[in-house]
Amino acid sequence: MKKKSLDSLELLDYQPNRYPFLMIDYVTKVIPGKMANGYKNFTNNEWFFPIHFPGHPNVPGALQLEALAQMLTVAITTLPGNKGRVTHAISHTVRFKREILPGERLEIETKVLSWKRGLCKGLGKGIVAGEVACEAEMIITIPEILDQYIPKK
C-alpha cells in the first residue's frame, strides 16, 4: 500500500465497522504495520448523545476505546494481504482522562508495538483540544491468521 492517508470512503476498505459503529472519520497518516493516525468528529447528531446522558451529553468511554482500536486495526489491515480481513479485540487496558462533548474532535494516534502471526500489540491515544482524553494498551488479532499457528491437538 503506497497511500499515506485514507479518506472517509477509502478507509471502509480497511475497517469493517459501519455506521453507527464506525468510530473513525478519516485516517490522516498510516504507515502499515507501524502506526495510524486520524480523527473522529463528534457532532450533535451522534446517536448516543440523547441517551448518554439526557441533559449532559458526552461520548461513552466504550466508544472512545472503540475509536482507538479501530484506528489501530487500520495500521494492520493496510499491510499486504490483510485488506478486508476481520479483526477481533483480545484485551484492552484503558484510562479515561477527560469528557468528550458534542462538537469536539477526537484526534487519534495509534502505534503498533508488535505484529506477529496474527497478533498485534499496540498503544492508542485520544486527544481533544490538545488534552489527552483517553489512552489504551490494546491487543487485537486477525483470527484467520492466528488460527494457522494453533496446535491441532
Binding site: 496474527g118 497478533l119 488479532t141 492466528l146 499457528y149 494453533i150 496446535p151 491441532k152 491437538k153
Partner: protein, 78 residues
C-alpha cells in the same frame, strides 16, 4: 539460570500455574493456554532463546514436554 529454568519460567509466567503442573501441561489443559496464550508463550521463548520458530514447529508445540524436543532442533538443550 540454566536453560531448563528459563524454559520453565516462561510457562509458569505465561500460564500462571504452579511448578507441579508443568510435566503434564498441554495446549488447552489450562484456560490460559489458549490460542492467544500460545502465541504469547511462543514469543517469549523466541525472545529468551534468541530463535525464530518455524510455522510447523509452532503448530506442533502442543505440550511442555514436547516443546523441549522442538527446541533441540534449534540447538537449545533443555
Amino acid at each position: 539460570m540454566n536453560n531448563l529454568d528459563r524454559y520453565s519460567k516462561i510457562f509458569l509466567k505465561s500460564f500462571k500455574i504452579k511448578k507441579e503442573k508443568l510435566k503434564k501441561l498441554k495446549y488447552n489443559s489450562v484456560p490460559q493456554w489458549d490460542s492467544i496464550g500460545h502465541m504469547s508463550m511462543i514469543g517469549s521463548l523466541e525472545e529468551a532463546f534468541n530463535i525464530t520458530l518455524e510455522m510447523d514447529d509452532i503448530i506442533d508445540f502442543s505440550s511442555y514436554e514436547f516443546g523441549k524436543k522442538i527446541l533441540k532442533k534449534y540447538k537449545i538443550k533443555i
